[in-house]
């Protein structure tokens, strides 16, 4: 026995003490992880609970479905909610083709040249760029060059710029995660490169792509800085018409309303500000929920 270790083997007592210490260390680490987990959960809960408690008194159907009254002292936030939804839809329409096919390009066509490496590094850097920078960029480019004043289209374009890098990167990684064996099968059946992408790669990567798309758009919808200078209007009584003119006009929206409303805190009652806050949070949560459902349903079918 113990021929490899020989008589260097420690005494039974020493071994027992050592084993006890190892178990204790393991337990201690577990406790540490649990406390960190609880801490994170508490932090998130604190935010949610605060907003729900403070925002709930203002929340009712009328608050969501009517406009402000009495110079914002009363009434609801429908124009802002509608504006946020419009901004989100517009943003989604822009990022869907550009972001997804940008990701396809990076994953399948770009290769590994030095230029592409540089481009990819830039996309990663852009994904971490503060959103206010996009706001100023949007002001300089989309507002001053296209509409000369804040507008829905300038806001959508700016939010799209903000959301694009993350969508490109998530699309690229979703595509790269498609098993090579599927791609080989497509190639061996004589599919063209585009057919392999359309019939094999995109369907398999779809859950990941949609998740990135939705989460990133939802995140953009909650950002105030990008639309502060590009889309926002504090409050407008002008009736919204659903036509092409709509895109050229400024649009009231939730983040802007919050930012301005807080600055002018004395005008808008606190109750309405918290109600707006809760509405924005619910809107973003709702979008994230959609992404979670899409992913969960796709996971069930994904057997590889």
């Amino acid at each position: 026995m113990a021929s490899v270790i020989g008589d260097r083997i420690p005494s039974r007592a020493k071994l027992a003490a050592r084993d006890a210490r190892r178990k204790l260390n393991s337990r201690l680490f577990e406790v540490w992880l649990w406390s960190m987990g609880v801490l994170i959960t508490l932090a998130i809960l604190a935010v949610i609970v605060t907003i729900v408690i403070k925002g709930l008194p203002a929340m009712n159907w009328e608050f969501l479905s009517t406009g402000p009254k009495e110079g914002m002292k009363e009434g609801g936030i429908w124009p802002m909610l509608r504006g946020s939804i419009l901004l989100m839809i517009g943003t989604l329409l822009i990022v869907l083709p550009v972001g997804v096919f940008g990701g396809v390009f990076l994953a399948e066509y770009a290769g590994t040249s030095r230029l592409v490496t540089l481009v990819r590094a830039c996309v990663v850097a852009l994904a971490g760029t503060p959103s206010v920078i996009y706001g100023l960029f949007g002001l300089a480019v989309f507002v001053l060059l296209i509409t000369k004043h804040t507008s829905l289209i300038a806001g959508c374009l700016t939010l799209a710029m903000f959301a694009l890098p993350v969508i490109v990167l998530t699309t690229e990684s979703a595509i790269k995660a498609v098993p090579e064996s599927f791609v080989e099968a497509g190639v061996s059946l004589g599919m063209s490169k585009w057919q392999v992408i359309r019939k094999v790669i995109l369907p398999a990567a779809l859950p990941g792509i949609v998740t990135g798309l939705v989460l990133s758009t939802g995140r953009a919808a909650g950002e105030a800085p990008p639309i502060l200078f590009t889309a926002g209007i504090y409050y407008s009584t002008a009736k919204l018409t659903f036509d092409l003119e709509m895109f050229k006009k400024p649009v009231a929206n939730l983040p802007y309303h919050l930012a301005e409303g807080y600055r002018q805190g004395s005008v808008i009652p606190e109750k309405i500000i918290w109600g707006t806050c809760l509405t924005l949070m619910l809107l973003v949560l709702l979008i994230n929920l959609a992404a979670i459902i899409v992913r969960a349903r796709a996971r069930k079918r994904q057997v590889w």
Partner: protein, 260 residues
């Protein structure tokens, strides 16, 4: 090397002095071989001997590997498949492939088979229905899936069924040659037996080129066997002669199980 070859028409694949490199690494050295139409030819040899590389150069799957290049000539039906005029979609319509690990698409059994003929030939629903059924029958999978192949998810099939589905999928584009890269190595013995029976049945209508680790399998299914070692084609002939009267010591050592 194969003295039994009767006429030029019987040769479907002809390789002349093929060298193959992955970057600086040479995988094939001067491979010259003539493969006979509508027979089963097995490529055997130890890991890393170049048999898979050779197989994958026949439908140009190696094109996908960065830094892969070759010299020499590979002809199929007398046409250089590495010529500038070669259309890869046409080549792969003619030369189908079955992989080591079954790799059906994550969709229905039906769609797995219908996809390629729809793409290549533009068939409609009615023709595709017939093609899918025939392909499943030819691949000996029909009886097991006939009730629900339009709904059943391909990945819900067993490994052996998946591999027969992959065979059906390649049959559906009407290839002349079917390349198989160790098609049974991920399967249990019963599934392996079924695939081997299927291979024997398909020979006569198709040229099958099968890479295998398993010498006994080569003995059971093939009419001709090529033994590769260290990137060279050591010996090639009828399976009987390779196993019973190998001309080279290396071959004899391998087929008698002394190495590999």
């Amino acid at each position: 090397m194969v003295s039994e070859i009767a006429s030029r028409e019987n040769i479907v694949v002809e390789a002349k002095d093929v060298d193959f490199y992955y970057g600086k690494n040479q995988a094939l050295k001067g491979v010259t071989i003539q493969i006979i139409r509508n027979k089963v030819t097995c490529l055997i040899g130890p890991s890393g001997c170049g048999k898979s590389t050779f197989l994958r150069s026949l439908n140009r799957m190696n094109d996908r590997i960065a830094g892969a290049r070759h010299t020499g000539l590979i002809e199929i039906d007398g046409e250089n498949i590495y010529s500038r005029k070669t259309d890869l979609m046409q080549l792969r319509r003619k030369v189908g492939m079955v992989f080591q690990k079954p790799n059906p698409f994550p969709t229905t059994v039906y769609e797995n088979i219908a996809m390629a003929p729809r793409i290549h030939y533009g068939f409609g629903e009615r023709e595709l229905n017939e093609i899918v059924e025939t392909a499943l029958q030819k691949a000996a999978l029909w009886d097991e899936v006939k009730d629900d192949y339009k709904r059943k998810h391909a990945l819900a099939l067993s490994g052996g069924q998946q591999q027969r589905l992959c065979i059906a999928r390649t049959l559906a584009i009407n290839p002349e040659i079917i390349l198989m890269d160790e098609p049974c190595s991920a399967l249990d013995p019963i599934s392996t037996y079924k695939i081997e029976e299927l291979i024997k049945e398909l020979s006569g209508d198709y040229t099958l080129i099968v890479v295998t680790h398993n010498m006994h399998q080569a003995g059971r299914i093939s009419s001709h066997t090529a033994f590769f070692n260290l990137g060279e084609l050591v010996e090639y002939g009828t399976t009987e002669s390779i196993f019973q009267r190998p001309a080279k010591r290396e071959t004899e050592d391998y087929v008698s199980g002394r190495f590999g």
